[in-house]
Symmetry: C2
Subunit: 346 residues, 2 copies
DNA sequence: CTGTTAGCGCCTTCAG
DNA sequence: CTGAAGGCGCTAACAG
C-alpha cells in the first residue's frame, strides 16, 4: 500500500478541466466562476485531496520549517525555551525541527548539515558546550538562511543573539549571600568554555572582591556537566579540603540539589551551617527541603524573543543582510527561599 | 539575498555536460568514467553544491521525516522518550518533527494535519488527555503512512502500541504500602479519560480489595493535571475530610511532591505519619527529603521500542497493511526510598 | 473565466 | 559511457 494521495491533476481529470484551473479554484481566486469552484471543492473533498507541501516548497523555495538546535531537551530550561519559540512560530505558520547536539560538536555539525539539506528556512541555535569553532554556522548562513543564537554566546560569530545576563545574576546571588553574613562562599562552576559559565564565575568573583571589610578568598571547584551527580562530586571536593565553606553558589539548580544532598549527609544544616543558592529556578526547586534560593531566568521569553528576531530576518525578504545584528540581554532575578539566611536587621 | 544554492544543472553547465551525467557521477554510478567523476566532484566542491532534499523527496515520495506527537516536552518523562526515539531513528537516517498537543484535542488534530501535509513518512503519538475520538489518526493512516501509539492507549484505535503496565505498577506500589503496615491509603488520581490513569487507579483498588484481614475503604481524590500544584490541591482536599490517611499513592512524582509539601506544612512526618509513593522516578525524586519512593518506568526503552516498531512498518515496503498489530506492555518497577516505611520483620 | 506552457531540482527510463 | 526526454505536484505567466 504505497502512499497514494490524490493530486490536483486527479481533480482536473475527474472534471475534465485544466490543473491550473483547479489550482486557482482551490485558492479561491477571484477569476474563477462560482460553478467551477463548487465543483472543484466537491471533487476535492470526494477524493480527500490534500496539497503536497513538498511541491509547493520546491516551487516557493521556502519550507516554512525552522531548525532548532539545543544541547538537550530533557532539562526544563531548554524545553521551556522551545515552548516559547514554538508558540510564536506557530502563529506565523512555521513548523519546528528540534535537534539535540548532546553537547557534542560533531553531532552539532552533522545535524546542522542535515537541516541545511532539508532546506529549513532558518535556524535557532544554542551551541554545544564543546563547540568553539563556528564555521558550520557560517556555512549555513552562507546559503542565505538567517541564524539566531540564544542562551549561549558564540564569541567570534556575529549574529542576532538573545542571552541572559549571567554576570548580573551571579552578582545578585553572591551579593545577597554576603549581605546575609556569609564570608566563605564557594562556587561550583560549570564548564569554562561556555561563556554562560564564565560570566557566572566572574560575577561571583567580582562580588567577592567588591566586598568591603575583608579580603575574601575565592573558593572554586569546576564540574563538567549540569546534573545533580556533578553537584555531589563538586561538593565532596569542597568538603575534602577541610575548612568548610559557609555558602555554596552553584552553577545551576540541579548541581545545587546534588550539593545539598552531600551537605545533609554530613549532618550539616542548611542554611545555618551552609547556605545554598542555585540558578534556573526549575519547577521542583521550590519543593525541596529547604526550598532552594535561586536565580530565575526569563526562559519562556527568551524563546519568544529569539523567535521574534528570526521572524524579523525572515521578513526582510531578500534585502541585503543587515550589517548590524541585534543583541538582547535579559535580566535574571534572585528568588529568595529557605536555603539561604535572611539578611540580619541591625 | 534570496536563497540561491547551486544545483546539478549549474555543475552541468559549468562542465558542458548533461545534468543526468552529473547526477550519476555524484552517486558514484559505475557507468561513469573516472575523469568525469573527478571533474564533477571538483566543481561540486567549488560551487559548494548541496543536494536539495525537497526535490528528492518529491520524486521518491518519502521525506525521511517522522512526526512525533506528545502532550508536552517539558516533563522529563516525554523528553526522555523522545531521546529514545531519536537515537534509533537517527541511525536509520530519519529526522524528527516534534509536536506538542498541550493536552488539547484541537491542537492535536491541527498538528497531525500539518504533519500529514508536510508528507512525513510516519507518526509516533502519545495522545492528548482530552482526546477520545481518533479519526484524525485514521485519516493520517488512510494516506498510507504508518502510526505507532506509545505510553497512552487509544481504545477503539487499532495500531502498533507500546505501553507501560500501569496496573501492575500501581499494584506493586499499593501492595508494598499495605505490607509496610499502612491501612488507610489514599490515591491522588489523574484525569480518568486517560487509560493510564484508569489503570493505575484500578491497580490501587484491586490491591486494597485483595488485602486479607480487613475491609479497606478506598479514598480517592481526582486531579486534572500532572504538576505539583495539583498535588497540593489534592492533598488539601484529603486533609479537609478529617480522619487523615496514613499513605498517599500519587498519580506521578510531581503530584507526590506537591502532596509532600502540604503534609509537611501540617507538621506531619513522612513516612511515620504518612507514607508517600509516586510514579515515574524523575531524576530529582531521589534528592527530595525524604527521598521519594516511586514506580520507575522504562522510559527510554519505550521510545526506542516505539521507533523500532515504526521502522518495521516503514520497511514493509508497500505490502498490504498488516492485519495484526503489535502490542508491547513494558514492566515498571517499584523503587524503595525514604518516603515509605520498611516492611516490619516479625 | 479558462487552458497551455514552462519550470522548481532531481532522477530514471530510453537511446544512442 | 553519455545525452535527451519526461515527470514528481504545483503554480505563475501568458494566451486566449
Amino acid at each position: 500500500m504505497k502512499r497514494r494521495q490524490s493530486t490536483i491533476t486527479d481533480i482536473a481529470k475527474n472534471l475534465k478541466i485544466a490543473p491550473s484551473t483547479v489550482s486557482r479554484a482551490l485558492k479561491d481566486s477571484p477569476s474563477i466562476s462560482k460553478d467551477t469552484k463548487e465543483a472543484v471543492n466537491r471533487v476535492a473533498k470526494e477524493l480527500n485531496y490534500k496539497p503536497n507541501m513538498l511541491a509547493v516548497s520546491l516551487l516557493n523555495k521556502e519550507t516554512k520549517i525552522i531548525g532548532v538546535m539545543v544541547p538537550e531537551i530533557t532539562s526544563y530550561f531548554f524545553a521551556t525555551i522551545i515552548n516559547g519559540i514554538q508558540d510564536l512560530l506557530d502563529e506565523a505558520g512555521y513548523k519546528l525541527i528540534i535537534c539535540q547536539s548532546n553537547e557534542s560538536y560533531e553531532e552539532e555539525q552533522k545535524l546542522i548539515d542535515t537541516l541545511s539539506l532539508s532546506q529549513v528556512d532558518g535556524l535557532l541555535v544554542s551551541p554545544a558546550s564543546k563547540t568553539s569553532d563556528f564555521s558550520h554556522f557560517e556555512n549555513f548562513r552562507a546559503a542565505g538562511m538567517p541564524v539566531v543564537i540564544f542562551d549561549r554566546d558564540c564569541p567570534d560569530f556575529e549574529a542576532d543573539k538573545v542571552l541572559v545576563d549571567d554576570y548580573d545574576g551571579a552578582l545578585q546571588a553572591v551579593s545577597y549571600l554576603l549581605a546575609s553574613g556569609c564570608r566563605r562562599i564557594a562556587h561550583i562552576a560549570g564548564p569554562q568554555n561556555l561563556t554562560t559559565c564564565q560570566h557566572r564565575k566572574q560575577g561571583y568573583l567580582d562580588a567577592l572582591t567588591s566586598f568591603e571589610g575583608a579580603t575574601l578568598e575565592p573558593l572554586i571547584v569546576e564540574v563538567e556537566g549540569f546534573t545533580s551527580d556533578f553537584g555531589e562530586q563538586g561538593m565532596e571536593h569542597l568538603l575534602e579540603q577541610g575548612d568548610y565553606p559557609d555558602a555554596i553558589f552553584a552553577i545551576n539548580d540541579a548541581v545545587a540539589i546534588g550539593a545539598m544532598a552531600i551537605i545533609r549527609k554530613k549532618d550539616l544544616k542548611i542554611p545555618d551551617d551552609i547556605s545554598v543558592v542555585g540558578f534556573d529556578d526549575e519547577p521542583y526547586s521550590q519543593y525541596f527541603h529547604p526550598s532552594l534560593t535561586t536565580v530565575w531566568q526569563p526562559v519562556y521569553d527568551l524563546g519568544v524573543l529569539s523567535a521574534r528576531l528570526l521572524l524579523k530576518q525572515l521578513r526582510q525578504t531578500s534585502e541585503v543582510s543587515p550589517i548590524s545584528y541585534r543583541f538582547e540581554l535579559l535580566k535574571p532575578e534572585l528568588i529568595l527561599r529557605d536555603s539561604s539566611k535572611k539578611i540580619p536587621m541591625d
